[in-house]
Structure formats: structure tokens, C-alpha cells
Symmetry: C2
Subunit: 114 residues, 2 copies
Amino acid sequence: MKVSKELLKGSTVILVLSLLEREPMYGYQMIKEMEKQSNGVFVLKEGTLYPILHALEANGMIVSYWWGNEGTRQRKYYRIINKGKQYLKEKRKEWETFRSAVDKVLTGEVCTCS
Amino acid sequence: MKVSKELLKGSTVILVLSLLEREPMYGYQMIKEMEKQSNGVFVLKEGTLYPILHALEANGMIVSYWWGNEGTRQRKYYRIINKGKQYLKEKRKEWETFRSAVDKVLTGEVCTCS
DNA sequence: ATTCTATACATAGCATTACAATGCATTGCT
DNA sequence: AGCAATGCATTGTAATGCTATGTATAGAAT
């Protein structure tokens, strides 16, 4: 496969990074945002999201920090950094490639993008 | 996830069924066809394709039969049958849903379908 | 004729990954 | 005080595609 298996096996990582590109968020917030922005199609589980966030942090794509107003609940925010932005850029291109390739095979011709 | 995990984890199955919808094919041929029709994006491995074909047959989506002219090599052809066509129809819809949901999150807005 | 390459089907074992299930702690509402 | 929602996190499991490997045939090259 020319498209990396990470993408094939699920686009979760780029979806997560894409969210963080807009603004720093904490885990629970990302789950809700993802659901909203995908019209309820993607409802991430904690068991899916947190390992991804931890891996992204370990790889230097994002950073995390506890934050919260005095006396309120502290939340762990994640922010995308340069390396992560570069990575996301590449992955976006891969998604385009993947998407049009699937469409080509599914329709048997070039996607007319109805 | 509303989209079934089968789709999320890879669209291989619908790609395979989609190929067979056009005409009956044998395994090796499918690998080459897939590569051609996807512009080299999908290069299936035998270890990926054959288990899928066997599973599809076991589930009554496709049938197989050995065939070949007298004196030439016998090849195992696979043909999609009714149940498989129905299944493919559903899966195509799922792909549409999945695709537009990813696009929505990636772009942060409705896909303009450039 | 023999060697090599492409063709052709097939399986075992491995790594990845999303999910279910669960745990624990905090906040806000009644 | 009790309960539901919020919030972070891990463990175990099932699914799935890939690597590696095995076997065998057809056709081309030497």
C-alpha cells in the first residue's frame, strides 16, 4: 500500500490533530467537539482518544499542560506544535489521495464530485 | 462510532466487492486491477486479499469456481451474488457518510468538493 | 533442455488499533 | 447527602492487514 497503514486503519489521528489545530482542547472536550463537527458520526471513546493523545505527545506532535481558573477544576489541555502541524499537513494530502482512490474504484471512473 | 468498524479499519472489503461487481475475476487479476483502477494507490497483498475472498464466500456474498481453457492454467474465479450486491450497496452509503464526516472535521466546514 | 521470472493460490504469525469495560476523582444540581 | 455528568486514565480483547513463507505452473530467455 502506498498510503500508510495508519491512515488506512483509521483516520482518527488526523481527526484529532485537526481539532487541535483550531484551538487547544482537553480530552473530554475533544470527544464532544468531534461528535458535533462530524454530525454525530464520530463518537470517540476514551479508550481510543487518550492513547492517541499520549502517543502524539511522546512523538513531539503536541504538548499538554494542566490548566484551570483558581478554585475550578483543572483540565489537561493539549496543544499542537510545529512538528504536529507539519505531520497533519502530510496526512491531509494522504487522505485526499486515499479518498479519491476509493472513489475511483467504487464508481469505476473518476469521481465527479456530485 | 456510527460507521461500522469494518469500514473504519479499512475499505478493503468494499473495494474488493466493487471490483467483482463489474465482472468475475480471479485473485491475482484483482490485485492488478485494483492497482490500475486506483492509480497505484492500492496494491493488495495476497495475505490481505485471499482471506477476505474466503470470508466473503463463507458469508454467501460471492461464489468461486475453477475455470480455464483446455490445456491452459486453471484459475479460481470469484463472482458476486445477490447478497453481496446488497451488502455492497449498504457499504457504499457508509463510505459516503464516513468521507463527508472526515472532510467536515478536516476542513472545519462543509466540504466544498473542490 | 534448463533456468528464471511472472503468475497464481494459500496460510501462519505478528503488530496495530479501536473498543468495551472499568476505575477513580471532581463538580453541579436537587 | 445523593446522583448524574464531567474528566483522565488503563487493561484486555477482537478485528484486520501485513510480512513471511510455501507450493506450483506457464512462458521467456539462455
